[in-house]
Subunit: 216 residues, 6 copies
């Protein structure tokens, strides 16, 4: 019963700095009487998930089945790898961060801009947004042309701000989503710099899991 | 600062039983170190909001402007009255329950079924879903043919279950949304009876406000 | 019976120059045996409607209910305030000028360009076009960055022509709509300057009312 | 100049009863100081246009080019044959009755039901509605299984009412369009019987031409 | 060079009867001077692919990379497993049978009906059709409630015909797609029984590969 | 029976160089045991079809009815003139090159760019893509500003490459379609120059006819 209030947030790549980054961003959701939020790194994950999304699907499923002590799961890679597979394998709620990030953005603005890592991500995300049926609310998606590891560093901030301004001023976005779990640390500073709500998708998905666990 | 962690959940109709009903449903979100959740009834509201949505718009705005001690607001009428107006009048997040209920449902199933009060609600909601750009994920919406006050009573459960089954078995919904703040008390029992996730939109919107307040 | 052939065209803002402007534009629809076209200014309206759309909803309804001598009503503010509310309150046809302007444009060209007052209008109109289900025919909407009062003056013409050319040459519009009742006086000159049909939405809505009154 | 105020309403089939039927329905638009409305039958037209739409395209164009004395043209066959061709050949407005009928319906209700002659018409119209970008507002289209000539007769009324009721009660239409120029005479009686606005598309297109001629 | 004219058609499940079934259906595409068509069974595949789509993704990629002697590849499972992954890994064309089957159907009819194995397939395919952007042409999809192996047997024909008739007569489909590679043997008989074009998706995808190989 | 394996590819304009151009491009589909591919020029066709699409509809139908010895037909004008009419007049498959070109492109890339002759073509094609329900996959369409005859010449290549680069780099297309039967000879060179799949629509439609004839 206590176990059912645990949320497992899984980083499907094996870069622990990414896990550490989003774990810190989840600190405000760690409340005295609230669900436990445990962040784990997928041992079998590649160092960069973006080009290797399919490889992590079965290991992710294995991890979820091995952790019945959790009441909800978050797959913290923006490509939402294995999301449907995991949902079919458990009755507990499973959240993907692209899906949750986009849905959270839709209640904070009318037209969403997404900051992606590279052009291949942009194409993959657009296919997925069509699958989600959400393209009518997309203002645009633009690439940083950075790797996961690069995007996570403090010095990437200026590039994020530059791309965010293009999404706001050229594409007409009035809310932004960070298109990778690794960009979590830039959220608040970016929001201040651009004057728009900026959604960290791992926070959004974990907040969804948080509510699901509490509300049963 | 402490004030900024308060969430104001406003019932735009003047029926206190509705306010009491969703306040009880929000109990699990009241955590020791978490945001305070205050449920209020709009004094100027009509007893039934459905046919009088426009009348509550300006009083709602007045209430929100009169309560700067809150960090986020929830408008707990399924027609989302005054949502854009209030959003333009404050920089703090404002959540509407139809919008939040639908968005929450989209991460729990693929095709959403909505249980509405009456046929006029169905038509109004469909227009609004087009505005939200979410019609591609709607399985269907069906009316109970009950008033707000009637839908809130325990004996309405059988009718909710009947309509829910039609949404599931005829329309192909795999997740349901309760299309009125007054139906909150039926959620868990309905979920158990139908074997589908059932979203209470006031819970969904308040969970969104909860996360917004915590994550800043 | 004679009364039922009267069309009431209501300016929801209190600027009489706007009322006077569109009244002149409606002169060609005033025919010997045809419906009487009466243009009125909403006493309770703000001087600029754009940012105050919600305030005029109930006064508009009141005016319509107080004038059963009319056979059809036109709400002459491009945000179509109170349109649904008024439609639910009377069995007589009620026309909104954004809706009518867009629909009229769709029979004069394939892709519609809209000249708006400011960026906030653009965002509001886009939401509404989604509600109308007409986004697939929108080429673009661009702001003048002028107030209602400014847009109405003769010297605003050059700015309208500049924005109209961008809609035609960059966005690919082959028909334009004036996105405010106050721009009526520029229509014919703009049409001549750009070589495209230009729709004055108040004319379009009143023509719709005209037909509805005659055809019963 | 006087000539430019003439509207030519062309029946592309050679059945004069159809021309006579819609000419009578256009009587209320014939006003003292208003545009002259002239209804003509296309000599080269087949007796039934439905299955022969393509044959009338070039004769229609010929007729329009031979009548520069008109200020606007209406092509009164619900398949809108030759509409684009004629529009490219003249700078004067040309109206098609399917397009105009659907657009008129969109300002009288939210979801449109169409009464068609037969199943082949339904399929053809659906393709065309996709071209018009209007499918999101279609409640449904149902066939009478009657010919043009049969649908025009008084005794067809009961069948129109039956199909109209299905569109209203099963498909959820709140406004109807008569899917053939030949059904004009049933409009008012059907409106009374069903309690919904019923649009005669020839009236709608001619009203559009009427406004275009007057407003220049 | 000769090798580049080979088409590899891969059955991702390990049921050789399925491979044999579609290989026979591909016989007409085996022409003297044409591409060689080689049908293989994925050794690592499960006996039924439907519920195990994700498991075959990486083995499929391995097989494709191990067979550079082919000029084009067909993945003959209707869920199109690994299609994007394989496309990113080779510059040669890769065809998925759901995608190809739907696209082929769109040039043979206006509204497509799909015969699926079971309800879970229907839901998965609908998500995928949204990703493909093709939902507007879907008349409906209905399940046989049979396994892959069952659907392949001659005695399944009556059930296919029953479901096909529902798609034609209730949903309005004018072309059908067989929603599993295992149903290939029923195509011609079903076409004759229903009087509609019936698309075998493996044939459609292999025909696409055939053209791609020949046309370079 | 042998006759039923003949494919008739019809050039609806009377420019024999266009017919000769696409006939050469179809050479790889002429296989020993395969269908005979016969390319014919419509005697009644205008020299340029683009502005005269409607004129060829009935002559095309006449030609198809006069040639029952063919098993499938291709209408090789990118406006797909008379496609529905011919489909309704024969039970044999009829392919239009715009439809087939777009559908073929959808299995070679995610977002399609189209190279058109002129701005009027772009507008006409966009209307048609809405009819086909395929706009969500269109990256963009851009005009060469050349006639059919000019686009066919070797010296047009540089202009095609320029427009192709804009579609790829500005509009984000990852597959291109040649928007006229006359551009066939540029396909392979353009593919090499741009590094994207380039679809010749006449090849695509004839490949579809090829498969239809073989597969029965």
């Amino acid at each position: 019963m206590a176990a059912a209030r645990r949320i497992l947030v899984i980083n499907p790549n094996s870069n622990p700095e990414v896990t550490e980054g989003f774990s810190q961003a989840l600190a405000p959701l760690r409340l005295a009487g609230g669900p436990e939020i445990e962040c784990v790194t997928l041992a079998e994950g590649p160092f960069e998930t973006q080009a290797h999304v399919e490889q992590v699907t079965l290991p992710l499923l294995g991890l979820i089945l091995a952790r019945p002590d959790a009441g909800a799961y978050v797959i913290a890679c923006y490509s939402d790898p294995g999301l449907q597979l995991c949902r079919e394998a458990t009755t507990k709620p499973v959240f993907g961060i692209q899906e949750s990030g986009m849905l959270a953005a839709l209640s904070r603005g009318d037209r969403v801009g997404v900051i992606a890592l590279g052009p291949a991500s942009v194409a993959r995300h657009l296919r997925y947004l069509r699958q989600l049926g959400l393209t009518e609310r997309l203002a645009g998606e633009r690439p940083l042309n950075l790797s996961v590891a690069e995007s996570e560093r403090p010095e990437a901030f200026d590039r994020l701000a530059e791309v965010g301004r293009e999404l706001r001023d050229i594409d007409g976005a009035d809310v932004l989503v960070l298109g990778c779990a690794g960009m979590a640390r830039h959220r608040q500073r970016l929001e201040a710099a651009l004057g728009l709500p900026v959604v960290d998708p791992t926070q959004a998905a974990t907040a969804g899991a948080f509510a699901a666990v509490l509300l049963g």
